[in-house]
Assembly symmetry: D2
Homo-oligomer: 298 residues x 4
């Protein structure tokens, strides 16, 4: 099928390639001319403006948006709207907050524009392995796009999850789980590393991937990481977070559902970005007050 694709960064460019290799036609737009140039190949055209993007697409159109969550999505939709007509489908394949997706679908509905929210997992490996796609919105729109989903995902790697927001909700929870899994492995390897034994961490990761209960794709990646830097000495212990881990905790708080391991993982990321914690200074100061414990001073 024919798709418009907005956002040709690492994820967008890889998806374009996979779509084209699957026999689809892609018209790609990005504000960055280099990104536009890189995408061009038989089956894929790069363009420099949104109106050029729309022109070659035959109605009813399908336009896939692959830009950073938040303002960028809102602005993209806003800029696109004058070019769209009834029956067109917009797909947000980024990491948007599911509540935003529900709002966007609702706002587009009176104009007859359909909206699909598609949580996309797989990272830089999606190009070769395929992307895992969690899809929310009207089922009919999902069916119209199914040929593209089939190409982007590995076998059985896409799912219609339910009403608008369901796709990004599922992706949000997926990432929340990912945070806590990474924390789980991180703690385990830190304990191995601090042990009196001299474990070869790459070998342990490889071993555990052979038939053990904790084998996983993340653990396969750990093998790769340790193979390149056995002690991880090249890395700073600073971990960024995007929005999904935060939203998962907000969801837990709003619904009254306990999520202590996911929250722990999120807060540890926050802590990793503090050179020192004010709360720790506070405790050091109070220990001096009550016990005369002389704290480390600057």
């Amino acid at each position: 099928m024919q798709l418009g694709l907005i956002g040709l960064g690492r994820m967008g460019a890889n998806m374009a390639q996979r779509l084209v290799e699957g026999g689809h036609t892609v018209v790609g737009y990005d504000p960055n001319p280099d990104a536009v140039r890189r995408i061009s190949r038989p089956g894929a055209v790069g363009v420099a403006t949104l109106s050029e993007l729309i022109k070659p697409l035959e109605p009813p159109r399908a336009v896939w948006i692959m830009v950073p969550a938040g303002e960028a999505v809102t602005e993209t939709i806003h800029a696109l709207l004058p070019h769209l007509s009834r029956g067109d489908i917009l797909i947000d394949g980024g990491n948007s907050y599911y509540k935003d997706s529900i709002q966007r679908a609702k706002a587009l509905e009176p104009r007859g524009i359909h909206f699909l929210d598609v949580g996309t997992s797989g990272g830089i490996w999606g190009l070769s392995v395929g992307y895992c796609l969690m899809i929310g919105g009207e089922e009919e729109s999902f069916k119209r796009l199914e040929p593209a989903f089939k190409t982007l995902a590995p076998k059985e790697g896409y799912l219609y999850c339910g009403a608008s927001g369901a796709g990004h909700f599922a992706k949000m929870i997926h990432n929340g789980i990912e945070y806590a899994m990474l924390q789980a492995y991180g703690e385990g390897f830190e304990l191995l590393n601090a042990s009196p034994f001299e474990f070869d961490l790459e070998k342990i990761a490889h071993l555990w991937n052979q038939g053990s209960v904790v084998r996983s794709w993340l653990l396969e990646l750990a093998e790769g990481a340790f193979s390149k830097d056995a002690t991880l000495e090249g890395f700073k212990g600073v971990v960024e977070d995007s929005g999904e881990g935060r939203w998962t905790v907000l969801e837990a708080v709003e619904r009254g559902v306990p999520a202590p391991a996911i929250a722990t993982a999120l807060f540890r990321r926050f802590r990793s970005r503090e050179e020192e914690a004010f709360s720790d200074k506070f405790i050091a100061a109070l220990r001096k007050e009550f016990g005369g414990h002389e704290p480390k001073r600057k």
Copy 2:
């Protein structure tokens, strides 16, 4: 090679079968006559006493112990000792505490008995998939037993981890990670289940196993669990724990290494076994004291 095997429960019996199918000869002992009977087949002999176990084994012998951790291991070694001679190797394949294994190796050394501690992962799937084996002790003893390890484990599924205790240490950490991974998935699925959407949890688990970042063997098992009981309504929310999760937290405390996600997972298991928590009663009582908040009374 020829092996003595003590403990023919689910794990032991499966291991015996895998060893025999791999061309080894097994003499198996269990206090339970039914277990002894079940093991017998070409290549495997079941016996009713420890002296009968020892008799057919040619020195230097290899005796694999597969009994519950703790007292049972100590008693088994104690009962075996009079029958063993210099150069024999004892293998503890159970979930023993690594500090016990270090002690046992040390205690056996003056008698010339070698001791290997072998952490064994794989559960009931080990029979078909093979067991993931983490091995500690003298490297020479490891090499003598390697033919058996090769048969028990899947390809590259066994590793000499280091000095005595290293095998059970690695298994301990493995299980600590497992606790936190299960908690991670558990929280995620609970949030999906409490959401305003109507997710099909089996389908989500299956979907996430197709190329997503959180794909894993445990998540494959989740598919199986949801396929048998979509709402898990047949299960009580009560989770047992064996020793390894506890030991992992003890290790973290002793070494001064933070392990908040693993501890969280362990404490949630404890909590699952409390019908109600005394701490919650305490807080309810205090809220009444300061705010007049009328608590739920019995």
Copy 3:
């Protein structure tokens, strides 16, 4: 000074009494006629409508709102607005979300109505001890109301905290701390209760209030609670939460500040309200899948 007071529940009625005893004049309104009747005494008049409330107040008026956070505050302000004039001051003494208070102050500003957000701690003990008041808004409005604050609070028990929202923000954090303190004591007393010793928990609470590092007002209340029910057997282990603990965690997430102990306390309250946790059923189901561990079934 003269004050209008809306909301004559437990908190409002007690505050009215304290204000009158301090020489102020109170006109109180509540939709519940019984509450209106109970408040009347020399210095306090109860009325049945908002217009009756406004009539006796001399401009510039001061109207203190003491109703549940959320919708009730919005509706009260909405109903009041037609009766107010430039220079009047509205005081929200309830547990409102600080972001709502910032919005309310901003919305009222063009009409010349001033808004103070006053976090109020002290519970049912405020009547005798005085209320601890955290105050946000314009400093000039704060000064106009200071005579009332002086009466309501114990000596030095009120503070101008800063711009609009600062009062409710401080109260929010105060309650977040309270959640984690209660959890701290709760865990400690549960451990004493589960110990091999036979501690008299009332006596321990009383003892710790004599010169120990953990002495506090909450611990004094614990003495009272244990004196009435030594084993707390009359209480169900179910703990409600109002909004502030949740908002504190939301704030931590939004600001990227770790708050693991407060989040732990909040999630334990959530957990106390689940008869059993779906996450625990999930883990029980998976343990059966990989280890054949027979779970508790219903």
Copy 4:
């Protein structure tokens, strides 16, 4: 009454002073001659050897040990033993592990030496306010020492808690609670500090001590800390821990009692002492592997 006192550090010296001021006679020993010299005053004699300590004490003697937990206590008792006779009482007033105290009482019993374990709270404030004393051992020995306890503690500030170990157990839990309370306040003040408002933290601490729900002695100390260093900029965010927090978590693990807030507080102390966490490096490395997220490199 007459007491021997071993260990004249900050705590020991202050206790000696309080005992003498209460009319008791103290013979004090410390290996440090300066400490011995400082203690001497009417009613207190400092000595340089253990035999000099014993000589002036009339049997049955009472010897109070105030040395660091662990080896120092064991060695002190070992060195004392030849000098003691049946009916003498040893008191361990330090922060010993309650399991050690149970063992020590048991080991001394056949020689007719009584042993009291006395958890002592109050820090450097004990001299003026009195020490909060939690006492375990035989009740008869407790009664013999009661005159000294009465002097050391504030009114009602000592308690016979039960059999040997009960005193140090209560102190252990007391400190576990203290860890979590400090963490609670620390998180709260960090959130205030990171807020968009400009809170004066000393004033907030002072305010909250006036009638609020979270008022406490620790919060009074916080006023003092902020008054000396409003931003705590002179402190490094590094927090030491002694043994009791660790033992509290070990106890929770051994008994199967959840203690998530106390464990959180302990692990945060561990984390404060890591310049960067290996687990964070691990997560940064894996994020690079799956998402190409460029980590901070050294």
